[in-house]
Subunit: 218 residues, 2 copies
Amino acid sequence: MATQTKPVLYGYFRSSCSWRVRIAFALKGVEYDQVPVNLIKDGGQQLTEQYKTRNPMQQVPAVEVDGVTLSQSLAVIQYIDETRPGPRLLPADPKKRAQVRMISDLIASGIQPLQVSNYDRQVGVISFPKHIANFKFISEPFSLESILKQTSGKYCVGDEISMADICLVPQVYNAERFKVDVGQYPTIKRLNQTLLEIEAFKVSHPSCQPDTPAELRT
Amino acid sequence: MATQTKPVLYGYFRSSCSWRVRIAFALKGVEYDQVPVNLIKDGGQQLTEQYKTRNPMQQVPAVEVDGVTLSQSLAVIQYIDETRPGPRLLPADPKKRAQVRMISDLIASGIQPLQVSNYDRQVGVISFPKHIANFKFISEPFSLESILKQTSGKYCVGDEISMADICLVPQVYNAERFKVDVGQYPTIKRLNQTLLEIEAFKVSHPSCQPDTPAELRT
């Protein structure tokens, strides 16, 4: 095992991908430092040359850990899971592990509204219609609900918390910000309610991060 | 270990995500059956009720294996890697494994042109400008090239073939279909050329699948 260091998370309170990583740290009981990267201020602090040196993808989250910088939240979460003690975030059974990854990828590979607005800014030449921000939540919850009906127990896959749950809650939070009625999806709604009662999901919530603006704190 | 069955791949010759799975099977030496799902014909065969029963996400690929149906190519590839003998598709070292997943997710979580046209059809209400199909290739190769400069040896991460290579080649193929000049990205170009010489990438190529139309065979 390489020398383990206290991870540093470059994130944004409201980024769903940053929240995923915060939940994973909290579930594993890993202490970490946060460096806020404001996606709105100064035209997007993730686009600065300084940040680009750290993460060429110019996205949050990025995590400095054990001498490397990692981005892409699912890669970070699985790295933390594989190198730190504490409850496992992927099940031991390969089939269940595959289901966890399938659900996580389904959520992660969709269009994230914040990323869209970010790309828009970067690319310049492309103008996205505003309604594309809602796109993800129009097309995918139906299929996600169908999958979760088959895989879920108390949590997304069986009765153990996993990376799939880590992905679900921030996605529902985003959907609700965009006024999607999650009540249409009873499995998603039930799982989300159960998960929000858990301490790791509470302490990592966008409403109580170091960079959460005072008016959004609850 | 559960009883292992011969996997059945529901895919499409030109789907980059289907190709990823075909490469993985070929690298691992796993025999499998293919059932073509034509994404164009009949308004998209993946949208039929029959296919929806199999894969609620109505996307290819889907793989029936060991009594379960899995979708999302990276979940499928990692399942095959974890349950089948043969060369490993993710490195043993956790940091390198994280880099492989980071690169794979960067490629996989972008906008896939074929998926976009699929969503378009499903959702109906949203009309994507045609140039969005090119979007992925405008914004992301720069960051992918920067990452690969740091991580690559002979292959995407060091000198062992991995899931990152499996993702790279179909993406370059797509980019070239959309007339992107890959020569701008020397690392991507070099890796792609090296990988295309490997038998597993050749036998799985879109130009020689059971459902490849005669006029596209080479």
